[in-house]
């Protein structure tokens, strides 16, 4: 019996292989536990008074305010340089300027024109439910309420499902389908984005693209469908033609000043604002070539983006795998007014050692996605 070489003995190679795979996963995870990564990303805002970016960085448990020219400010000086960002503090101290660039400043005006938007690849890359909530956008009430139905998209239309009975509301589905087709919408839907939450001031409905990559807005006004065609890539005659062949990402927004419907990203990674009048404008176009190599591009699959908007400017921050990019754009025209690209600092020693002693690092979770999948050396 002892001399029999059974094919079963070859199973030891499976054990060895499994052992190696598990080591490639667990050893880097253990190493990370022992030497945790500290990722202190500074908060950056464009100062319209200083005409540069000011970063707020925590060092030695203290917040430091430093502009991109290297000049450091006290907290009080920074508040003065960022009157729209720190207006509450300035109001409390009685230091809020009466006007800025000819615009009379009031806390209400500043608040209405401030908005914040943040998203990351991980937030976008997750399995979609495939059900959407169409809120009533003109109920006449201040508070939004949840509708009694949700809708799903099909290859040739959409179906509203009544929550109480779990059956399809054919009349409502047909009315929305008719309104969409009346505006030239062709199914199936390629992309759709809406904010189904009632925790917002008002509702802009959904931005969606049809089978021919045309961009539409769909919302419900007093129980009836409202459809607006926003952009048609095939309509070359339009004065609004922006040379977009298709869209890769849509975001519906509801900023307090009601100037925007949302943001869209074209397949060549340009970012556009959809204004409330239905026109779209490229954000951060560097038409005056203020700074070389500063064309704003946004890849939703590999960049984290933060937009901090105020009355006069938007500060757009993008974090990529290799650098941090800061853009300031005019809040009205969306033209770029400043830009800075800061390469990431050299990796800390612990990470460099990890790369040498653990050349193959297997992970099943990623900063890019919520999906569990094997990734090799995806740091």
């Amino acid at each position: 019996m002892r001399n029999i070489k059974s094919p079963i003995s070859n199973l030891k190679y499976i054990i060895i292989l499994l052992g190696l795979i598990m080591s490639a996963w667990l050893l880097p995870a253990l190493y990370e536990l022992v030497s945790p990564r500290t990722d202190k990303t500074p908060f950056v805002v464009y100062s319209c008074l200083d005409s540069t970016f000011i970063k707020m960085e925590v060092q030695d448990k203290q917040v430091h305010y430093i502009d991109f020219r290297g000049q450091e400010f006290t907290k009080s000086e920074a508040d003065s340089l960022l009157p729209l960002f720190a207006f509450r503090q300035l109001v409390a101290e009685g230091r809020l300027p009466d006007s800025l660039y000819g615009v009379a400043l009031t806390p209400k005006l500043i608040q209405q024109n401030s908005f914040h938007f943040k998203t990351s690849p991980k937030q976008l890359n997750k399995p979609a439910v495939g059900l959407y909530t169409m809120l009533e956008s003109a109920s006449g009430r201040v508070d939004l309420t949840l509708p009694s139905d949700v809708f799903r998209l099909t290859d040739d239309g959409l179906e509203f499902i009544d929550c109480e009975t779990n059956t399809i509301n054919k009349a409502k589905s047909l009315s929305f389908l008719r309104e969409l087709t009346k505006h030239g919408f062709t199914f199936p839907v390629q992309l759709i984005w809406g904010n189904g939450t009632t925790r917002k001031d008002y509702d802009n409905g959904f931005l969606l693209t049809d089978s021919q990559n045309r961009l539409f807005q769909l919302k419900m006004v007093k129980g009836t469908p409202f459809v607006r065609k926003i952009y048609d890539p095939l309509d070359m005659s339009s004065s609004r033609h922006l040379d977009i062949s298709s869209f890769i990402q849509l975001f519906t927004l509801e900023p307090a000043n009601r100037q925007l419907i949302g943001l869209v990203v074209s397949d060549d990674y340009r970012l556009f604002a959809v204004r409330s009048d239905g026109t779209i404008t490229q954000i951060g176009a560097n038409s005056q070539q203020l700074t070389a190599n500063c064309q704003l591009i946004y890849d939703p699959q590999s960049m984290q983006i933060t937009i901090t908007g105020d009355l006069f400017h938007w500060t757009i921050t993008e974090y990529t795998a290799t650098d941090s990019r800061y853009y300031a754009v005019d809040a009205k025209t969306f033209e770029q007014v400043a830009c800075a690209i800061i390469p990431d600092p050299e990796r800390p020693l612990s990470q460099r050692i990890e790369r040498i002693i653990l050349p193959i690092r297997l992970r099943f979770t990623s900063w890019r996605t919520q999906l569990i999948a094997p990734n090799i050396n995806d740091d």
Partner: protein
């Protein structure tokens, strides 16, 4: 001979299987009653909105039950065999040992798959009364890695228990436990859709490993 092996395994496992059946049905009934209670108390519209908007499916209590069942069924099946080396009797049957051990593993897998299929079917059939098909499918996709975790828990425990040497058993456990843990990396709904081929490969690979432990046992490793 195989029928006799199946019958012997059924005699060995039936008590535990019936107990597991009661626990599984009990937990599924609890989950469904909890869902019904939430639908009635919070309102159907609000519950649907929470499930759609906040990725809540209310089945998280089921997460580790398939794993516990898989490990326990392996313990019930192999501990009596290994305690006084009773497995030798099986190995001396006039049938190839891969066939007899394969039949024993198959018997337990059928028991486990039956339980898990029952869980999934009862959940889906009852949920589709209250929920749209997208949420029912999402619930199934969320539970599926937990069921696979149960199968992996069974195969890894069997592999470790059948291993005759303690030090190798520890190594087997160190390799096997993370493989099982792969099925429990997140409770986020439907996040394993890219992992199905890898998890199927993991099941196939780990189901082969008890044969290697028995092979070593036959070689007389102590």
């Amino acid at each position: 001979m195989l029928r006799a092996i199946f019958y012997k395994e059924w005699l060995k496992l039936r008590l535990f299987w019936c107990l597991a059946l009661v626990v599984h049905i009990g937990l599924i009934a609890y989950l469904l009653l909890a869902l019904r209670s939430t639908l009635l108390a919070s309102g159907i519209v609000e519950t649907w909105a929470t499930m759609i908007g906040r990725d809540v499916l209310m089945v998280n209590a089921l997460m580790y039950l398939p794993l516990i069942t898989g490990v326990c069924i392996a313990l019930c099946q192999w501990l009596p065999e290994m305690q006084v080396k009773r497995i030798r009797l099986t190995l001396h049957l006039p049938i190839d040992y891969t066939m007899s051990i394969g039949a024993m593993l198959f018997c337990s897998l059928i028991c486990l798959c039956g339980l898990f299929a029952l869980d999934a079917a009862v959940l889906a059939i009852v949920e589709q009364i209250w929920l749209p098909r997208e949420l029912v499918w999402r619930t199934f996709l969320t539970c599926l890695p937990w069921f696979i975790g149960g199968l992996l828990g069974y195969s890894v425990t069997s592999w470790c228990l059948l291993e005759p040497q303690w030090k190798i058993r520890c190594v087997d456990f160190l390799i096997g436990a993370p493989i099982v843990a792969l099925c429990f990396l997140t409770a986020q709904p439907a996040c394993y859709i890219s992992m199905w081929p890898w998890l199927v490969l993991a099941i196939l690979a780990t189901m082969c490993l008890p044969f290697y432990s028995i092979y070593r046992f036959k070689l007389g490793k102590q």
